[in-house]
């Protein structure tokens, strides 16, 4: 199906785009908690 092909392509693209040792960046926001989560 079209949906399955799209998912497979995206997965393949994702595999190609990541170099060896790739570490995903933390999300830009929200930032770190300095004291405690309320």
């Amino acid at each position: 199906s079209v949906a399955r092909r799209a998912v497979a392509e995206a997965a393949q693209h994702d595999k190609v785009a990541r170099p060896v040792g790739f570490v995903p960046l933390p999300p830009p926001c929200p930032g770190k908690i300095r004291h405690f989560k309320i």
Binding site: P26, P28, C29, P30, G31, F36, I38
Partner: protein, 252 residues
């Protein structure tokens, strides 16, 4: 080819932290009641370029209440953050800043404060006292008694109540009322009988102070009062103001 738009600024970016620091200083500087707040987390940041070296920054901040009253000269970095079990109060602020040539200025700010849920504190600490309303009769009685006790045992200017900053009541195993309140010096001495006519001295940091009191109601009656008068600083020319020691008076 048009230049690619700059990557979105992360909340932990040094530029975001500088903007948050300016915002927190502004918020504390423009508050006249309660306690100083400190940054807990930058929730979100949006930057809108306005032209060369000019941008508008929108910040969403999560702040936490400290133990320093807003009138205290103690620098924010030296103020203790209230713990979760102290029934912490959180501040949620939206702040708009302008950054012109690296100079940050706050254009607008809007904050709401909320106390942590009593149920959450009960789960973690079943015996911990919980925040009480400032107009609670037990709170009002504890503050009046504490201030009278302080004035009766200390010479110098007669102190009047400015505001009740915080109060907590514990019911079990002992019945205890904890209060924190700001005071101001008057033109009367504590020896003068007619304190109703006493007038507050002009607004000057040296005329303010802050008291904490613990009133045990059950099983035995006991009162402990501790007042710190901000004017009683010990100036030392070679140390910055932030590290000066403030003289405190204890009465029990």
């Amino acid at each position: 080819v048009p230049a690619a738009p700059p990557a979105p600024l992360g909340c932990d970016d040094p530029k975001s932290e500088a903007a948050a620091e300016a915002a927190v200083n502004y918020i504390n500087g423009h508050s006249h009641h309660g306690f100083k707040f400190t940054l807990n987390r930058i929730e979100n940041i949006r930057v809108l370029p306005q032209g060369p070296n000019n941008e508008v920054i929108f910040l969403e901040l999560d702040l936490l209440e400290t133990t320093c009253h807003i009138l205290s000269p103690t620098a924010l970095e030296n103020c203790t953050v209230r713990s979760f079990t102290d029934h912490a109060v959180e501040g949620d602020c939206d702040v708009k800043l302008q950054n012109v040539n690296g100079q940050l200025s706050v254009v607008a700010s809007k904050c709401h404060s909320n106390a942590d849920s009593s149920e959450d504190i009960r789960q973690l600490c079943p015996q911990c006292p919980l925040l009480a309303a400032w107009n609670d009769t037990e709170v009002q009685a504890a503050v009046t008694e504490a201030l009278n006790d302080y004035n009766s045992k200390n010479a110098g200017a007669y102190l009047k109540l400015l505001e009740i900053g915080r109060a907590k009541i514990q019911h079990h195993p002992e019945h205890i009322v904890f209060v924190e309140f700001a005071v101001a010096a008057t033109n009367c001495s504590t020896e003068e009988a007619n304190v109703e006519t006493c007038q507050l001295l002009p607004d000057d940091q040296s005329n303010f102070g802050f008291c904490t009191a613990t009133k045990v109601i059950r099983p035995s009656k006991e009162l402990q009062v501790n007042c710190q008068l901000y004017g009683h600083q010990v100036p030392t020319p070679d140390t910055p103001l932030l590290s000066r020691v403030f003289w405190s008076i204890n009465t029990s």
